[in-house]
Structures are given as C-alpha cells and as structure tokens.
Point group: C2
Amino acid sequence: MPEIRWDIITEERVIIATERSRRPHDFKRTDAPAEPKPAFVPNCPFCEGNESMTPPEVDAFRAAGTQPDSPGWRVRVVPNKFPALASAGDANPRAQGIYTLADGVGAHEVIIETPRHHETPVVAPLTQWTDALRMYQNRLRALAQDEQLKTILIFRNEGKAAGASLEHPHAQLVGLTFIPPVVQRHLDGVQRYRTRHGKHPFEAIIEQELREGTRLVRQTERFLLYVPFAARVPYELLIVPLEPVARFEQMSEPLLQQFAMLLQDALQRLYTVLNDPPYNYMLFTAPAGYESEFWLHLRIVPRLSIEAGFELGSGVNINITAPEDAARYLRECDGAAAS
Amino acid sequence: MPEIRWDIITEERVIIATERSRRPHDFKRTDAPAEPKPAFVPNCPFCEGNESMTPPEVDAFRAAGTQPDSPGWRVRVVPNKFPALASAGDANPRAQGIYTLADGVGAHEVIIETPRHHETPVVAPLTQWTDALRMYQNRLRALAQDEQLKTILIFRNEGKAAGASLEHPHAQLVGLTFIPPVVQRHLDGVQRYRTRHGKHPFEAIIEQELREGTRLVRQTERFLLYVPFAARVPYELLIVPLEPVARFEQMSEPLLQQFAMLLQDALQRLYTVLNDPPYNYMLFTAPAGYESEFWLHLRIVPRLSIEAGFELGSGVNINITAPEDAARYLRECDGAAAS
C-alpha cells in the first residue's frame, strides 16, 4: 500500500510507493567514469597551474609567499565565468505592462575545493576537505557584508545527472537579493510549528529520530545524519546540529571539523551503497534577519530518478524507496571503505 | 545583464540569464533513436496484440464487435501496473509520533494514445490524436464521479530525460484526494490577482501577449500558444483558451478539435526546432470545487537542462533562453514540416 507522508516543516506531501523499489545497487550511475581520474587535466580550468583559465580569484588559502592566480593554493574562489546574476544593477522591480521584472543582481562564485582533479570529497584527506568547508565559512562571512544580499546558498553538483558541467571538485555560491520560495516555505513552516508546539521542529525531529532510530544513519557528539521521514527522493539525507546554530560561519573550529567528517562520511556511504551516484547538496544557513532563530542544515539529494510530468504538475514527489530502508542500507555500510 | 522576472500568477521569480544561451539546434537530444520506430514491437505492452501484457482495460475506443483486452481499439486505458496510489485505503491522516501519514489513495491510469508504436503526437493523423484527447475527456468525466478525488492531473512524459520508461505513445492520469502545491499556488495566485485587478490573470495575459506579440507562437480562433513572460525553462509553452473553460471535459467537439490541432502543432514545432526534444506536458483542469472559476491550460516543458543544486535549494529556475527568442524560433518554424 503506498503511503502519503507529510513534511513536518513545510507540510507538503510525499508519496512513498515502494512497489517499483530497487535494491541500492540497481540505481547504477550510468555516467560513472570507467578510469580513475588523473590528478591533473591539462584543459581543466580548476586544476592547479591553469589559474589563467578562470576569472581572477577573489579568495584563496595559499602557501605563504605565493601570488594570487598562480599555483600554491589549497582552496580557491573565483567568480562564475557565466554568472546567473550580475554584481551591479538595479534590483528594483519595474513594470512591463502587466508584468514585473528587474535586473538580475547578486553574487555567483565557484569554490574550487582542491587543486587536484581527482580529489572528490569522498577521497580527499579530511584536512583538505575541512579546508574546503572552512572556505565556505570565509565566503559566507565576506558576503554577509553585502547588505543587498538576503540569502546565500552554497551548493554542490556532482555528476552530469546532477547538473555538473565540470568534473573538478567544486561548489558554487549564489547570493540573492531576496528569500527564495524553498527557503521561505521552510521559514514559514518553522514559524507555524513553533507557534503550535512551542519548540523548533528540528528539536522535535531530533528527539523522535533518536528514539525511533529507524531513519538514523549516524549520530556524532554534535550532529545527526538521517533520512527524513518524508524524504522526497530515494536516499535523501539531512545533517543537522543537535543544538541550533544559525549561520554556517558561526560554527567553531571543533564543530566545523566534526561537520566536515560527518559530511564526508555521508558522501562515502552514498558512494559505497549507490555506486558513485550523482548528487546535489545544499547548505541552508540563516538568511539576513533570521540570525537569531535559524537552525542550519545540509540536505543531500542523490539524483537517481527523474522528475516527470506528475512531479512538475503537482509539486509532489513519488519516492520509491522507504526512508527506513534507505537508512538501513546506509547505516550498515562502512562509509570509509569507499576511500 | 541577467533579468529577474516574476510569474504574474504565482509571483515566483525566474532568472533569465542568456550568457550561456545556445542556438536551438545545440540543445540536441542525446537519446533520440537513430532508426525510425517500427509500428509494432513484440515485447511492448502497449502495442496492439499485446493486450494481455497489461492489467485489464478500464476504457477504450474500439471497433464495433471487438472484445475488451483484444485488438481492434484506437485508444485504450489501463490501470498503471505499478500504481503510485491505490484505489482503496484510508486516506485519513494518522500520527506516528510527531509525524503524519496516510494510506496513499487515488487513481493512476495509463492512456495508450494509439495502437501503433511509432505514432507519436508529432506524426499521428489528426483524427487519431483527437481521439486520444477525447479519451482524456472520457477519463476526466468518469473520475469526476469519484468524490474522493479532488484533483486529476493528466500528463505526458516523452523521452527518457523526461522520465518516460516506455516508448509507446501514452499519457498518464493521476487522481489525488487533495490539491497539490503547484495547483494550490496557482489557485492562490489567481485569487490574489482577481482581488487586486478585478479580472482573471489569463484575461490580462492574453490581452498583453496579443498586443506585444513577441512571445506569441500561434493564435487560432479559440486558443493562444505562447511562451510565458517568466518561462522557467527554455522553450516552455502554454496553451490557453481565449475565453475561460474550467474543465477539459467541458470542451465542445469543435473546441477539442482545435485544441488537438494546436497541441499537435506545438509539439511539431518543438520537434523541428529542438530536434525531437524530451518533454513533459501537464494538463491543468479545474480541481473539484473550482468548476466555476478555473481557466484550464496546458503547459509544455522541454527537458533541455537539468535542475541542479541551485534550483533544488531555492525553487528559482535559471532559464538561459529569453522567452522572446524561444517564441521567435518557434513562430518562424513550419511545425507541420516535422511530420
């Protein structure tokens, strides 16, 4: 019998219909490279030594004495060469007859997470991967100074089926002058839940997930890794801190290191269980004005199925893998075996 | 300079960023079959003669004297073999701790649009294609009798990248016991616009599209085919009747014939301009209780790009083709040349 499950925050429904369910290895990535990737690719704009192929860097962690836009960096940030939004313009809405439009103003950066082409988060040394996430913090801190920007979204696209056009490990950052619908619905849902229940929904979620245990993948001292009750897609994962933290750049060094370890572990588990799946992750950190009440979280979405006419026309997802089954496979796997 | 455009109904933003724009033929379908498709495929469950491979039919247009689940049909409807929703169960929400779930109750049917495997809407004789749409009306009429169902969505997935698992021309119908988010946001937006402006937004849209002309693809006596001002993806198309019609099954025979012709023409134009693209279309007809005020429409979404982390994390689309450019290519093409 298919189930309807409600997302406890947005109150949106998901259909869990497992009749077509597959075992995890049947979700085989079809575009996975057959060969191990090389550490350097001559025409890759993100490889060390190819700095001239990108716009000038806006930030980097580099060895003492090395120059911007030259080798010697560990993590490097450049403007997106084809930005979705421009850094200057008039963000005020204007009319075109009955319609409304504005200049597309915002920020669009690329965070190159390693100088080495093959060094995905799954195989990167933890120190390198932690540096990459420390740079996420740096950029969030820098862009928080721009009063135009209300929301800063950092996300990662891995694999062609997840929309990645370049293979070299990188994340992207987009700064928006507004709060977009997905974030607004989350904020509205949190507000609604607090009013009704007197607590943040993540507090209630963490309590129940720890008690039930069936959707839990891993708990560390400060974080939880779990499959949401109303997961929209197979093997969706959430990482939340056990105590609220509003902005990612507020995480102390010990917290950041634990987060880096757990995110790497989550990606290694997906790699092992699902055979190197394409995925996206999105880091949700407090929009401007919500610093006191937001509870940051990171959502990982493996791209194992395609949204078709039903999903586009309804906004309802059909998830063919029960969250409890996904969690069990991920829990039982030894993530570190991937590296 | 990228642009932000607001959807006039939902008020959601779209980013139009044409720096990466491509000419239409660069959106080449990579999974397009090299060979012409045969009229009959021995192991295709939807081909005439293979009726025993599907669940028993629930409706069909058939030649006089032929038996159900045997050859002789022109259009055939069967339950989905792997239904996302079950026909019976308890749709009332129940609690699991803090969470809410219910049995997944609803309808899930497959409308096989032709007995012949190769006969896509682009190449089908107009009489056959009109029969297929007449069957959409039949099923909407039949399922309107089921008081549990609040929303009935008919959609079509064409091509693997649009989520089609079977090649034989078919649409699907899903009946839901609730109004899903995409439809609810549309209803809310229409209500808001009416309150502010005293008219239905489609009335205002049609006026402006006819006056501007830049996003128009084709106008017939009773319908408009156009690219929306805030199109979310390249070459998105809308078909709307010039005068409001609430439910698709209310369309008179002459209206249905004109709709069939225009929808076929739209798909032929996409086929020609974009080289047989994968696409979805969704038919939005009045949910139960909205029969007096809904304005039906059909939305066609070519699947030329992949939603990545930004879209998943924000709900904002980045469209790399200006709606006016898409409309010009589609307007200037002779759709019928595809067949």
